[in-house]
Amino acid sequence: TQLLEQSPQFLSIQEGENLTVYCNSSSVFSSLQWYRQEPGEGPVLLVTVVTGGEVKKLKRLTFQFGDARKDSSLHITAAQTGDTGLYLCALVTITGTASKLTFGTGTRLQVTL
């Protein structure tokens, strides 16, 4: 059972447009990660957010962690065709030195010329 809901499920936009995808849970996150997965590859970690209200930037990508730590968003400015992929959020549960990742349902982004 997926604990994390992502929206939208699918997004198709043209190059140069801006977009925001969301990750929501009914539970409080200890920390959350965002991954991007390209076709035929495994997910690649983009960022980890830990503190409520935290904002992190990675070039044209802006990640925000909700104040209550129950939601997160990823905003992409001036999307490029290379941004195409499946964007996944993951709940990180850490016990001692061990960590568990639970993934969301994913948002599939398609950026066209």
Partner: protein
């Protein structure tokens, strides 16, 4: 540094046949995960190892799936017998300090 290595990349088998997947994690990573990913969906955890111990296998269908991680390094995931619904990508990942690194996955097609 080599990443997580999985083999094979692709496997096509007939239903009721056995199949095995292999994973070599990043050196020094104690945590190893096996996930199953259906098309267009997020990965779902099958089993998680801390060294050689399976600490979370609640989502592993134990009637047909088995896994092992001998000596806390390489791991294998086996399905016997395979069913049509097992068609998916099987991903292996290893982690250190909460950062997970994934292999390219094995795409299984059961016909």
């Amino acid at each position: 540094e080599a990443g997580v290595v999985q083999s094979p990349r692709y496997k096509i088998i007939e239903k009721k046949q056995p199949v095995a997947f292999w994973c070599n994690p990043i050196s020094g990573h104690n945590t190893l995960y096996w996930y199953r990913q259906n098309l267009g969906q997020g990965p779902e955890l099958l089993i998680r190892y801390e060294n050689e111990e399976a600490v979370d296998d609640s989502q592993l269908p134990k009637d047909r799936f088995s896994a092992e991680r001998l000596k806390g390094v390489d791991s294998t995931l086996k399905i016997q017998p395979a069913e049509l619904g097992d068609s998916a990508v099987y991903l292996c990942a290893s982690s250190s300090d909460g950062k997970a690194f994934f292999g390219q996955g094995t795409r299984l097609t059961v016909v």
